[in-house]
Symmetry: C2
Subunit: 347 residues, 2 copies
Amino acid sequence: MADSTGRPPAAGAPARPTSKDVARAAGVSQATVSLVLGEKWRGRVSERTAELVRAAARDIGYRPNLAARNLRLGRTRTALLVVPALTNEFFARVYTGAAAVAARHGFGVVLYPSPQGTGLARDPFASARAALDGVIASSMAADALSAIRGTDLPLVMLDSAPGATGAAAHVNLDVADGMRRIAGHLLGLGHRRIVHLASAVPSWTFDVRAAALREALEGVSGTSLGTVRAPLEVDAGRRAAEQALASPGTRPTALVCDDDILAAGACKAARRLGLRVPHDLSVTGFDDVALARALEPELTTVRLPAEEVGERGMKALLDVLEGRPPALDQLPVSLVPRGSTAPPPAL
Amino acid sequence: MADSTGRPPAAGAPARPTSKDVARAAGVSQATVSLVLGEKWRGRVSERTAELVRAAARDIGYRPNLAARNLRLGRTRTALLVVPALTNEFFARVYTGAAAVAARHGFGVVLYPSPQGTGLARDPFASARAALDGVIASSMAADALSAIRGTDLPLVMLDSAPGATGAAAHVNLDVADGMRRIAGHLLGLGHRRIVHLASAVPSWTFDVRAAALREALEGVSGTSLGTVRAPLEVDAGRRAAEQALASPGTRPTALVCDDDILAAGACKAARRLGLRVPHDLSVTGFDDVALARALEPELTTVRLPAEEVGERGMKALLDVLEGRPPALDQLPVSLVPRGSTAPPPAL
DNA sequence: AGGAACGCGTTATACGTAAAACTCCGGCGT
DNA sequence: ACGCCGGAGTTTTACGTATAACGCGTTCCT
C-alpha cells in the first residue's frame, strides 16, 4: 500500500531539519543544541552561544521530532480523554477544563469519543496511536474500558463506581444530591405521581440517580414512582415519555429525566398529547446544557460543574504520574429552577 | 518538577517489556520478532517460529512502543482533525466519517477543538503533541490555521475557499445550492420580506451562503433582504432575531438562519414577541442537527452530508500522503422542509 | 606553584523499533 | 564437483533526541 522506504517519498523533499542540522548551522555540537532548546543550559552554555543556537534553529525552521523525544524521554506528556459522545456539551466542557490544566503543566489532551455501538474501532489506542502517559475516562464510556485495562497506563475515572475498575483515582459528581434536590423541588410544589425517564445506557451515574430519586420519594407518603427507559436521544425520549403519559387515569404530574436531551423529548411528547408544560405536566432535566435554555419553556434542571470535573480529573492524573497521592473528589451540583416546573394541575 | 532520570520512577516498576524481551522469551532474535509481529514474515520465517513468537508476546504482555515505531518509520499514521467546536453535531459527524475511513487504512484520527477565543492554547500541536502525518481542518477553525502553516504537514481544508491557504486538497459542500433551495422554498411560499440571521463568525462558508441568498432574491422583484449577525449561540441568536423583528411596520415574514442553533434562538425570539412559528413567521435553519427536530415546530433546514465530508477529507489526505493526486470534491446538500415554514400571514 | 574548581563545551550512549545486509546450510542443475 | 538459489534466521544500523560522562583551558585558593 504505502511504498515503504522511510524518508524520501518524492525527489525534492527537503528532509525536515534535525537538531544536528541546527548544530551544523550554529557551529556547535548537537548536544549543545539540545541543551539550549531544552532550556537546560543555565551555567552550561554561554549566553552568546545560546543565542547563536536559537537563531540557527529559527533560520532553518527547526521543529523537534516529537516521536524521537517521546522515545528518549519514555514519556509523552499526553493524556487521553475518553468520552461517550462528542455532541454532549457536558463532555465538551470536561475537555475544556482538562485541557486548561494540562496546558498549564506542559501536557496535551487527546480526545477519544468511545463509539457507543457504532461499529467503529473499540480500541482507543487504534485511534489515538500517540504514545500516552495516562487516561481519563468517563464511566459512560464503558466500551473503551476493556481496552484500557491490560495496559499499565494510569487511569482516572470520572463519575464512576469507586474502587471498581482498578482506577488510580476517581472524580465524582454528587448526582445523588442533585436528584434529591429535584425530588425536593417537585415534592415541594405538590407533585406525588412521578415517572422517572431514565437512561437506557447502563452506567453507575444513572444507577445512583435512580436510587437517590427512589429513596427521596419513599420518605414521603402518598407518592408513586414509575420508570421508563430510553437511549439518550430526543426521539427515543419522546417515545418513552408518550408511553409514560399514556394511561389517562393515573397519568403522572411530573417527569424526572436523567438528561436534558430526554427532557426535550418529554416536552415534545407533552405537546403532541396536548399537555402544556408546566401547567399540565412538570418536566425536569439533568446537566444544564444549552438545549435546556433553547426550549420553551426553559428547563428546570441540575447544573453540573463540568469544567471542574475535567480540571480535577487532569490534576488527579498529574498527581498519579508524579507519584503524589491523588485527591479524591466529590463535586457539588446545584438545582436550577426554570420554567418547566410548576404545581400540578388541580384534581 | 518531574524527577528526571528516564525509566525507573519507583522501585518495583516491572519495566514494560520490549521486543527484545519477547525475543529472549521465544529464543529468537529481536529482528525475527519484528518481522513476525509486523506481519512481514511470509517466506522469511517458518510458521512454527512465528507461532512461538506470537505466544511469547502474548505471555509476557508485550505492547509495541509507539514512540519508537513512529521514530523508526518516520510516520505515525495519525491525522489531526481541527474543528471549531466540539458541541456542534456537524463536526462530530465529520469526525465519525473521517475516523471510519482512517481505521480502514490503519490510521488514527486525533481531534483538536480549536479554542475560538477561549484563551486556550492556540497551538494544535501543543495539545496533540503526537507526531502527526497530516491535518484536516475546518474553515471555521481559523484560529489554529496559522500554527498549522509553517509546518510541512499536508493539509486538507474542509468547506473553505479553494486555493487560498496552501492546502493540498479541499472538500467542499455546495452550501450555495443549499441557500438557493431555501430561497426558492420561501419565495414559493410567497415570502418577500426576508432577514438573514447570519453568523458573526467570519468564514468562507458563511460568505458563500450570504452571497447565494442575496443573488437568489435579487432575481425576484419586490423582495427585500436585511441582515443581522450573531455568534453561533442560542441566546445571541435570540437577541439578534428580536432586533430584526423589532420594527412592526416592515417586519420580515421569514428569518433565514445560517445555522440551526441560530434558528433556535430565532424561534425563541418569536415566542417572546408573541409571534407564532410558522403562522406569523417562517424560520429556516442550516445543518439539520438533532436540535432541529427537538424544537416545536420542527425546523425546515438544509441537511449536510457530514459523515461524507469526513470520509472525503480523510481520503484526500491519504491520497496526498501516498503521492496520488487528491480528488476535488463538492458535495451536494438537500432541503428538508418541516414545520417551521409556511405561507406568510395575509396582509 | 600545584592542583581544585569552574565555565563551556564535546563525545558517547541509550531509548525501542524496522529493515537492509549478511550468514549459514541443504538441495539442485549442469 | 561446483556454483547458485532459496529458506530461515541473525547481526547491524539508523531514526532524532536527551543526558551522563568526559575534556580542557582558565582562574582561584592556599
